[in-house]
Subunit: 234 residues, 2 copies
DNA sequence: CGGGCTTTGTGAAAACGTGCACGAGCGCCG
DNA sequence: CGGCGCTCGTGCACGTTTTCACAAAGCCCG
């Protein structure tokens, strides 16, 4: 039997690497590369080849032994697995500095995540247009979510309002959240949640910085070996 | 002998949680809470108590059995371990939308990471003042880094310039990087690197969204159980 | 058409992180 | 001042992720 296909669950660590492969593959494709080996892909991604192969094997057996992977086909498969064959409009809650930057940021809609709505509570924000989208009041959230069939919400409010925003989003029917506020938010079981926390990242760096200062020992982290850098030249 | 103290290496996963504990502890302290149990801390952090205790045990034995942890003292210990007893000025490379948002963002300097410099290459940006800091040309990077003794660099350039920015930062003497560009960058061994990638986060959410659509099975992720939410009321 | 070279796909082992369970230590109360 | 109840600290078992290593499989060349 050739391939049982993809309804096996993919480990989260692997899922988190698929977008990286996808980006690399897309770049390579644009440069006219048709075929790529796990070794090359690993090199670009800063990983080792075995990990790349194992990750890709969760998608199915799409490589050719002795040759590698066909770039275009692999792109298709990764996109399919990640659910990128459809658009996922997002709603941004909090139209402050960050919310506006995000809304104005092209690389958002470009990649299949158009801004389907912006929400705020401040009089001064509601009604204004940011990144081509009219800011609506929190009261209208459910209506916005339902009319555009939005399932991903981005929280860009101050930390104190983040839980409230999350609750409102979930109540409105959103099932995935991306939280930029520096606050732990709790969500019902079954809702996906990821966070991006600047302060946490900096503090982690600080830890290793300090450590470097005391022991002259370097260590793990996401440090990528420098060896053989490849510039992507056209 | 009481406690061999902290020169044992702390697992990265634990390091990444310490900033979260720190934030919670600081909030609790501000509200007048003097003592906290691993159970309570776990509740606030959305984790389980055993993990909290294990994480804290890497710092030393600072709890009191039958009682819990003294908040103020624990704050001090976590800060010490994370290297937050000193400021870590950062230099931001790329003064575009994101770079400006970051520079203007208070919660940066507030937490011990003042913006010590901003760098760009565009004529239109160099010389302007953003968030109280004058934007300098890339050529002046080394001088900025050395004069202010900066060891952390933030990359906020377009993806195509990210590797170049990283190389320049490392050459200038920076030893920790936080990369916002959607590109894998490679750094020499011994340099710490963390990345924040919006597209990756959204694509991970997309994966689970899609999966939810096919199987009516929910799963892992960072999903936090909703149970007993605590609002931090003064 | 067969042998050699290359690279995949994957079991199995190792490393790592998490969660459980419980002994040890401390404070409090009677 | 002794016993009780609470919570820490941690050994251990479990689950997950990474790494290793190699057989299987395809391609190319002679
Ligand atoms: N600006 C940055 O560079 C940056 C970087 C990292 C993290 N953050 C975090 O992102 C969040 C937003 O930052 P910011 O700089 O945009 O802040 P901001 O104050 O500029 O914007 C916050 C916006 O949220 C709105 N708001 C408040 N309560 C709300 C609610 N209940 N529902 C909907 N909207 C509400 C406010 O009206 C305001 O427009 C903060 O939590 C901040 O810590 C910001
Ligand atoms: N804007 C957002 O909300 C957002 C969100 C997530 C990620 N990002 C990423 O952050 C990065 C910056 O985004 P942006 O919106 O600020 O882009 P931008 O185009 O507004 O700014 C980029 C800046 O970098 C400068 N630059 C270019 N090459 C440089 C070099 N070699 N050295 C120094 N500076 C250089 C440019 O002059 C420009 O000022 C991008 O990689 C983007 O993908 C942006």
């Amino acid at each position: 039997m050739a391939g049982k296909r993809s309804r096996r669950r993919i480990p989260e660590a692997s899922v988190a690497r698929l977008p990286v492969y996808l980006r690399i593959l897309s770049e390579q494709f644009d440069e006219g590369v048709n075929s790529i080996s796990s070794e090359e892909l690993a090199e670009f991604a800063g990983l080792n080849a075995a990990k790349v192969r194992k990750d890709l094997s969760y998608l199915g057996s799409y490589g050719t032994r002795g040759v590698g992977y066909e770039v275009e086909f692999l792109i298709y498969q990764v996109r399919r697995e990640l659910g990128l064959t459809q658009d996922w409009p997002v709603v941004i809650v909090g139209a402050g500095n960050l919310g506006q930057a995000l809304a104005g940021y092209g690389g958002f809609g470009d990649r299949g995540f158009p801004v389907g709505g912006m929400i705020d509570v401040a009089e001064s924000k509601v009604g204004s247009v940011v990144g081509g989208v009219r800011v609506r009041h929190l009261d209208e959230l459910a209506q916005v979510v339902q009319s555009r069939n939005i399932s991903i919400g981005v929280i860009a409010t101050p930390g104190t309002a983040a839980q409230e925003a999350a609750d409102a989003l979930v109540a409105a029917g959103v099932t995935s959240l991306l939280n930029f506020a520096p606050t732990v938010i709790s969500v019902p079981h079954g809702i996906s949640m990821r966070k991006v926390d600047l302060a946490v990242e900096l503090q982690i760096l600080s830890y290793y910085e300090q450590r470097r200062a005391s022991t002259e020992q370097s260590n793990g982290l996401q440090a990528v070996p420098a060896e053989r850098r490849r510039g992507a030249s056209a």
